[in-house]
């Protein structure tokens, strides 16, 4: 446990860098705490004073609107002061190193860093570098991890399906480049989901992905059979350029989620997507806006889950 850089000496959450290796009780505490924050966000005053006087710095070295906004809202609803830094457009382009940037912001008495970076391991590097009273949350690093997305997905699944131990979950699409998929897989297996499937073309599945404890399918017809939960992944346009896929149209034909393909899953199956969606590429509008879609509740729950992570970290 001492080797896990996310935990302090007492085994409590010090940073949130990845869902990999996080013990189930810590995951469940985050989900249970988030449950209480859902209530807070439904009140007239959507704010609690718990992080009053704390400073949260959103360090985004890679563009993101949605994730940054939800972290900002979460921090503000905890009464923290929030500073947003889009570093692509600032000092880094003047040659400052990542750790110099962090040192400078630490000197401004930051209490928490929320980090998004195109390089895998960037949040780990910062977490190892900062003083023990500073907490780091990984908001997506390269292909590695996006733990709050993975957590909000399992929160959403638990909200609709209650018991993880009886579920069949399928992750569909570009697993190879997806930090979201990795974070989902680790969270789902730790929470006891007996069958996690990945479905996608061979060119978009990492080699030896079975080692993560998942079942591999290349055809939607087989992979979606008797599934309770479908986790759709965003197909990034740049993958087309890298010639891993012939065309969007062809991808949609085989892997795009339509009503017909969704009918292969259980009748009460739910559909999740981390956003932003490419309608007509990985998901058809009829499904995205259909009654089995829980894509918008995911966004709402995402704020409660991020509030829970911040509140738990700040207390340790």
């Amino acid at each position: 446990m001492t080797n896990n850089p996310q935990l302090n000496k007492s085994g409590q959450l010090q940073h949130l860098l990845t869902t990999e290796g996080l013990p189930a009780p810590i995951l469940l505490t985050i989900l249970d705490t988030a449950e209480s924050f859902v209530g807070v966000t439904e009140r007239d005053v959507k704010k609690v004073p718990i992080l009053r006087g704390k400073s949260v710095f959103n360090l985004f070295f890679e563009p993101s609107t949605r994730t940054r906004t939800t972290f900002e809202i979460a921090a503000k609803r905890l009464s923290a002061d929030v500073v947003n830094l889009n570093i692509a457009a600032s000092s880094q382009s003047k040659g400052e190193t990542l750790l110099d940037t962090v040192n400078n912001l630490s000197a401004m008495h930051a209490d928490m860093f929320v980090v998004r970076h195109s390089q895998s391991g960037a949040a780990h590097l910062i977490a190892r570098h900062v003083k023990p009273e500073i907490h780091v949350i990984n908001a997506g690093d390269g292909r590695h991890a996006h733990p709050t997305q993975g957590l909000l997905d399992v929160f959403t699944i638990r909200h609709y399906k209650r018991d993880f131990r009886s579920l069949r979950v399928a992750i569909v699409g570009d697993i190879l480049h997806s930090r979201v998929a990795r974070s989902q897989i680790h969270a789902l297996t730790t929470l006891g989901v007996p069958e996690v499937r990945v479905i996608g073309p061979k060119t978009l599945l990492p080699s030896k992905v079975e080692r993560l404890g998942v079942h591999v399918f290349h055809q939607m017809a087989e992979g979606l059979k008797d599934v309770d939960v479908l986790l759709m992944l965003r197909l990034q346009n740049e993958r087309m350029v890298s010639a891993r896929l012939p065309s969007k149209e062809e991808y949609f034909k085989y892997y795009g989620l339509t009503q017909e393909k969704l009918a292969l899953a259980k009748p009460d199956a739910i559909v999740l997507h981390p956003g932003p969606m490419n309608r007509g590429v990985e998901i058809d509008s009829a499904v995205a806006d259909g009654k089995q879609s829980v894509i918008l509740p995911q966004v709402t729950f995402g704020i409660a889950v991020r509030m829970a992570v911040m509140a738990i970290l700040a207390g340790h």
Partner: protein, 170 residues
């Protein structure tokens, strides 16, 4: 040390509160002991407004020292707080800090017309100017002791004394 019978104290409290409420009065209990008491009061006094419960974890003044409680339960207030007549219920009143936090949380739902405070036990030791309107019993206890309300499998309430070192105190 002989502790008073919680069921008798509650029955006594119920009768005193009965004389000073209307059908517009709402019961709000503080998790966990206060919520059990409020539930019983609401049922026995046949109050029509839905029972409210508060978990004051996000409003505590010692968050910097002790962090977040491992088991935070959702607060649940389903009636209109604006202008309402509230009786706030806790099991043991001590420093008054929990009540301060609970009042702050209630105000984030709206501006109540009035809030009264009911507690099964007042053990003194106030650190804030908080005064209850309804008290089951006053008990002087050593500072290293903690008093807690417990509920049996048959929903019978009783009081139990702990050494503070053995249990984290609310």
């Amino acid at each position: 040390m002989l502790l008073p019978d919680a069921e008798r104290l509650l029955a006594d409290l119920t009768e005193r509160i009965r004389r000073e409420i209307s059908t517009d009065t709402a019961m709000v209990g503080i998790h966990t002991g206060g919520a059990w008491l409020a539930e019983r009061l609401q049922r026995d006094l046949k109050l029509p407004l839905p029972l409210g419960t508060l978990d004051i974890s996000f409003y505590r003044d010692d968050f910097d020292k002790i962090g977040l409680h491992a088991q935070v339960r959702p607060s649940d207030i389903q009636f209109e707080v604006e202008g309402s007549d509230i009786i706030l219920v806790d099991d043991v009143l001590y420093t008054g800090r929990t009540i301060r936090a609970a009042i702050n949380e209630l105000f984030d739902y709206g501006r109540p017309g009035s809030i009264r405070l009911a507690t099964l036990i007042d053990r003194g030791g106030r650190e804030l100017p908080i005064a209850p309107q309804y008290v089951g019993a006053v008990l002087a206890l050593p500072a290293d002791k903690m008093l807690a309300l417990e509920k049996s499998s048959t929903d019978k309430l009783s009081l139990r004394l702990y050494d503070k070192a053995l249990r984290d105190n609310d």
